[in-house]
Symmetry: C2
Subunit: 436 residues, 2 copies
């Protein structure tokens, strides 16, 4: 199975930076990231992944000051390039938004990262769900969901054409003939689309991986169709085995339409995990973190996904029905999940304490976590996992010390690297060059 990890500086828990064992300077310490990437590599993780949004919040700062998600972080491409030299095998994945960037720059930077890392680059294609980002790029707000995905499809199409500007072996570097490259092996892009006009050639040769790996995490119908057409790694976020199996089957089922075999895409199930020698110990770690959530942060995170203003409401009463919108506009799945809990009659405090974005954190022994992973892997719900750790680097170190050896014993995780590229290690074929 493929192992990936999504890294937030001090961990994925909203209060992680407040934990006594956390290093509050983490987000701006390149040495810290280097150590963590090396740790993940020693633990046989295939992918070290940096999520991103190109914006810092400018409102609700009282709450964000206590929950500084994406407020002060390295930019992913520069970060990953810096990590390339500190690691040898682990894949280096990062997010870049198709809504605000230019295809030429994205194509070029990921290609450059693939060369710098010797074939370990992966691009997480997102359309961004954040009006703050839109305002940094000349817009008042985010374009509608469908338009964003339309642009994303065209964006990826252009990027892939750019990646195939040069055939493999185009650069001869032949002093005898005096030819540095073979002019016949350049295939300039001539793209005139609804969103982009790109007519030219990428100024970097075809990468070690043929093309960098494409990651996608869309959950909507449009998002899934896009993933089936174009993604090679997909981050899933279902919380039950049945939902995971449905998602897996649905996604793989869509691929034939696009002429792709199911193994050309690996589903990585999201897995927030706290591992300890006893279940109680894992639970204690979780509860220690939960107790550190400030009510302002709880309110804000819940309100964001409920798309409601919860300020001023008493914590120990249910949310008044008139504050709850009739339907969701941003993350439908999160919204429905919260509505379900509201129907159970929970108070505001109980709601935000129980609510986790995406799937529930599994708290358990190494055996329990390994069993969970084995079950998902062997019953058609996942080709691998995207691990997130509430507390870093401790959570990752625990997982590597306790769970990875168990998975290796079961033959589920490799003991040796299969190769030097991300594609080789997760079992994705190197794409052939398509003449343009």
């Amino acid at each position: 199975m493929a192992l990936a990890t999504l890294v937030h500086p001090t961990g994925s828990h909203p209060a992680s930076w407040l934990h006594p064992s956390a290093y509050p300077g983490a987000s701006m310490d390149i040495g810290y990231y280097r150590d963590m990437a090396r740790l993940a590599e020693r633990g046989m993780f295939d992918l070290f992944f940096i999520a991103d949004t190109p914006a810092a919040r400018t409102s609700q700062l009282e709450a964000y000051a206590r929950f500084p998600l994406f407020m002060n972080v390295f930019e992913p491409l520069t970060l990953l390039a810096a990590l390339a030299g500190a690691t040898t095998y682990i894949g280096l994945g990062g997010t870049a938004s198709t809504s605000f960037f230019e295809p030429y720059n994205v194509a070029r930077q990921f290609a450059s990262l693939d060369h710098i890392s010797g074939g370990r680059a992966a691009w997480n294609v997102v359309t961004s769900a954040n009006d703050f980002a839109a305002r940094n790029f000349g817009l008042d707000r985010l374009p509608p969901h469908g338009d964003r995905y339309e642009r994303a499809r065209e964006f990826v199409d252009v990027v892939r054409k750019l990646w195939d500007t040069w055939e493999d072996g185009a650069f001869l570097r032949d002093r005898e003939s005096g030819l540095f490259f073979d002019p016949a092996k350049q295939h300039p892009v001539a793209h005139e689309g609804r969103h982009f006009r790109v007519n030219g050639a990428l100024n970097i040769e075809r990468v070690p991986q043929g093309q960098p790996v494409i990651i996608q995490a869309g959950a909507s119908d449009t998002g899934r169709e896009f993933a089936a057409e174009t993604a090679e790694l997909v981050f899933a976020s279902d919380s039950t085995l049945e939902a995971g199996q449905r998602f897996y089957a649905d996604l793989k089922g869509r691929m034939a339409r696009h002429g792709r075999p199911p193994e050309a895409l690996k589903v990585l199930a999201g897995l927030p995990a706290i591992v300890a020698d006893s279940e109680q110990e894992a639970e204690d770690t979780y509860q220690t973190l939960q107790a550190l959530i400030h009510p302002d942060v709880g309110r804000m995170r819940l309100g964001m996904d409920l798309e409601a203003d919860l300020s001023g409401l008493p914590l120990d009463e249910p949310i008044p029905p008139e504050r709850i919108p009739a339907s969701a506009n941003l993350h439908k799945a999160y919204f429905e999940h919260i509505l379900g809990m509201i129907r159970e009659g929970l108070t505001l405090r109980q709601l935000y304490m129980r609510y986790e974005r995406g799937n529930r954190t599994i708290r358990g022994t190494p055996k329990q976590v390994a069993d969970h992973m084995e079950e998902w892997f062997t019953s058609g719900a996942a080709d691998g996992f995207m691990l997130t750790f509430s507390l870093l680097p401790r959570g990752m170190a625990d997982f590597i010390e306790k769970v990875v050896p168990e998975l290796q014993r079961r033959g589920l995780v490799k003991r040796e690297w299969r190769g030097r590229t991300l594609r080789e290690n997760v079992g994705l074929e190197r794409p052939g060059h398509r003449r343009q």
Copy 2:
């Protein structure tokens, strides 16, 4: 004096890659760049600089196959981030174009590089003079010179505001109060201009250098005015001492108008140098390289700056007058320089063999090169130098072995690093934060 070097993979000579001592794989070998950056650092260079244009040529490929400038290179930001971990003191400068990129991304990537490198980032602001680049970003051709500089001014203004999103010390990381940052120290940008609308906050804290260093190399009147207003390092390219002094005095003279003291900007004179123990040996190295220039390359490079099609013309006759345009559209100075040589009655071959873009390569002994540098430095033509080497890494190694110690003996080059940031080492003040 400040020392900088502009690095092209195998050297700045158009035929460098053909030289027997060159490493033809240089442009895609990160280890090669790492070694070169370390070499420059050992030689007390303050700045390792990567020029750039976001395009590969798609025409005249027969000539470009023999002179592969920018056809296959790392992208500068990812490259510099990768070099940060391999070096400790040397500044890391790169080009990003204001004509095709977005201020938010540029601000963020250079800020990230500054944090990753501990205060060593520098941005060379260019407007690009290349229609191939324009076509990669939705345009048919480059906007006019004046428009490009207007956009560049606004671009830099926005970037600087973004860099001052957060005051120094805004990030408290204080577990006791539970405040990661002080909301009062965030100053979002509210920019509505002719070219950009940016309303938001940079998601990275103020950098070690306060702001990354701004480099500029404009030679036109508009370019100089822009430099006087905003640049901190300026690459000059005059070929005589008198011209250098005029440029220096002109540029520094323009600064008062913008409320800047002259020492806030350092002029680095371009210096292509070949050093050897005897003048003859240096000349031989130069002539060996010259002899490797293929006639197609000579024609193409000359034709580019003469803005004329020279194909099919006999090499050993002068260029027929009807092929020569009445005036220049791109690089006026290069054009005039070629016209001057044409008036001397040179043949096409003599022209391209004698023509160098920018200033003439100095070929000499360590003493001759050091004398040249001392003269320019002490007579008001330069605060430092931007060295280019015909052949890399050899040319740089020779310079470091033979010239740097001589400059140190004369007290012109430091023996110890003054600090860990580029600003400290070249003597530029850390800019204070301007409230927005």
